[in-house]
Amino acid sequence: MTRYMLKRTIGAVIVMWAVATLVFFMLRIVPGDPIAAMLFDVGDPAAAEEIKEKLGLDKPMYVQYAKWFLLVLQGDLGNSIYGSNIQVNRLIAEAAPRTLSLATLSFIVATMIAIPAGLIAATRKNSNLDHGVTFFAFLGLSMPDFWLAILLIIVFAANLHWLPAIGYVPLSEGFWPWFSHLILPSIAVGTAFSAIVARMIRSAMLEVMKSDFMQVARSKGLRENTLIMIHAFPNALIPVVTVMGIAFALLMSGAVVVENVFSIKGLGRMLIQGILNRDYPVVQGTILIISAIFVFTNLLVDMVYTLIDPRIRYDK
């Protein structure tokens, strides 16, 4: 297992390096540059060359790359070249907990809705309950999450005053302030995901229920609950875990639109801002973090597989 983990970690680092490098060059190849973006603010064309020189953008690309890469190896992602030149590390340290909080809570909401809904739909196939779940799943899928977000704000914040409408409070300032600010956005993001996952659980369960081993289990006189939860569900989870892993990674790269609706300044928002401003270090830094999240979520999913499925062992 340790050897396997080592191999996978090295693989993950290589993937991250490849993504970061690709982004580094792509940013510089696509039209539009940071100076143009800045000059729009500064309004002084004469300053252009000076800024370019100061930022090292006048050097050949491979020199810029080498410089950046050496800094990254030391854990320094550089400074934003826009506005107050704040350290990218600090920006990330601020944004990442927000996104992590929102992603985790949304994921929990999604799972808490999806598993019972999917199981009910599968075990009472073609009943009214199943049709109800299917209806809400399609509703959840076709309704944009920002729209649900706005609805939630109107009802629970503006009208009922139960929960705050916008903003984010760090966990260090208390559980409830942190949690109360995240409830509505987590529901908005989690509901959309739960619809997909519930449908997946339903079809995976229906598939498993048809297997020979379910007929065998039934012939042993087991209770219906045992059949569903012990015999069928773990088998149905195997395909679902893959999708849940991807879903979690996507959530971690930021639910940009919902973050915007609730003014949560997370990674997604930071990335979009960085791209609009052609703020190279910010974009490179955020992408590096997001790709790290992706590869390590993947690794985590593979570990979860070994817990569910005894056929999968990585020690060979």
């Binding site: 081993f213 065998v216 012939s219 042993k220 006189g221 015999h231 773990p234 056929r311």
Partner: protein, 330 residues
């Protein structure tokens, strides 16, 4: 011998998009305590469906039991509610299935699958159930049972898995085991081993056994009584000796000529039955075998023949038994 199981006039149909499939069409047979009974027939003749009906395992819908009784020690299993039939399953009547490769749950350990029925039905503790699980594994000839108990299905070969299935069926000491083509998916050498094992255990433990098979050649050595099924009906029934030595239905004769046998000289030619079994979705009014039968007459196409008793317990549903017998004598 007292009758343990009596199936009377059982009929099962499936409502499918292409129409009603009459899978089982009024069959009756019985199994005495400790007896080994074979149900033989080609693919699609309704063998599995009739077996599944016994334990209430037919998916409804699309399936529907349209008539009949299945008496187990006098009690009609078809009238039991969900909870009562659940108590029969595994505990009093156990089942072994055709596909050992897919019949075990891949994510649960052999021990869990072997012991769960004992813990549920017999109320054994985990330690007691595990101890008995180990005993059962060695009973069915699995070496190193302590170690095997904690392993998973993918660590077992097909033959070993079928042994596990047998151990599972024996777990709660049922009175009847229904084995639905228990050896079809296995190598020939392993087939013989498994059948031998089942017959031996049945005799030793006094468990009655229904062996479902399409192979009339192999069951010979293992069954006391044989029921031959064709297109949802039983066409001939009798003691194994009578069926093999003195078959009366043209279909039985055809089946016997199409499989290698131990009581014929090696190298005697095999003659497959010409034609195909009928489509159970639209059965003709007369004898279902008539289109493939050399002896068929006008009457066979129009009427379904009743059973003709030939000897004690030996009967065939055919209008032309005389002709069949005459030819056999020549």
């Amino acid at each position: 011998m007292t009758e343990l199981l009596e199936i009377q006039d059982l009929a099962v149909e499936f409502v499918t998009p292409i129409g009603r499939v009459q899978a089982v069409n009024g069959i009756s047979y019985s199994v005495a305590e400790g007896e080994v009974v074979a149900v033989v027939g080609e693919s699609g003749s309704g063998k599995s469906v009739s077996a599944q009906a016994t334990l209430g395992l037919i998916p409804q819908p699309p399936g529907k039991i349209t008539s009949g009784k299945i008496r187990f020690r006098g009690e009609n299993l078809l009238e039991l509610d969900d909870e009562a039939i659940r108590q029969v399953r595994g505990q009093r009547v156990a089942m072994i299935f055709q596909e050992p490769m897919t019949s075990l749950n891949p994510v649960l350990s052999i021990g869990r699958q072997l012991t769960e029925a004992m813990r549920l039905h017999l109320g054994l503790s985990k330690a007691e159930a595990d101890a008995r699980g180990i005993e059962l594994l060695s009973l069915v000839g699995i070496p190193d049972p302590d170690r095997r108990l904690v392993q998973y299905p993918h660590q077992f070969s097909g033959g070993m898995r079928q042994r596990v299935m047998i151990a599972m069926a024996l777990a709660c000491e049922p009175e009847l085991i229904i084995a639905d083509e228990p050896t079809t998916a296995l190598d020939v050498t392993i087939q013989a081993q498994i059948l031998e094992l089942m017959k031996d255990l049945s005799a030793r433990l006094g468990v009655a056994l229904i062996i479902i098979t399409h192979n009339l050649g192999v069951v010979a050595r293992y069954a006391h009584r044989v029921n031959v099924m064709y297109a949802g009906r039983i066409v001939e029934r009798g003691n194994a000796d009578a069926i093999y030595g003195n078959p009366a239905h043209p279909y039985t004769v055809g089946l016997l000529n199409s499989v290698p046998r131990m009581d014929k000289p090696r190298g005697s030619p095999l003659e497959p039955i010409p034609g195909n079994p009928p489509d159970p979705a639209n059965l003709a009014p007369g004898c279902a075998f008539a289109p493939r039968c050399r002896f068929a007459t006008e009457r066979c196409v129009q009427e379904v023949p009743d059973f003709v008793e030939l000897a004690d317990g030996h009967a065939a549903a055919c209008f032309e038994i005389e002709a069949v017998r005459r030819e056999a004598a020549e």
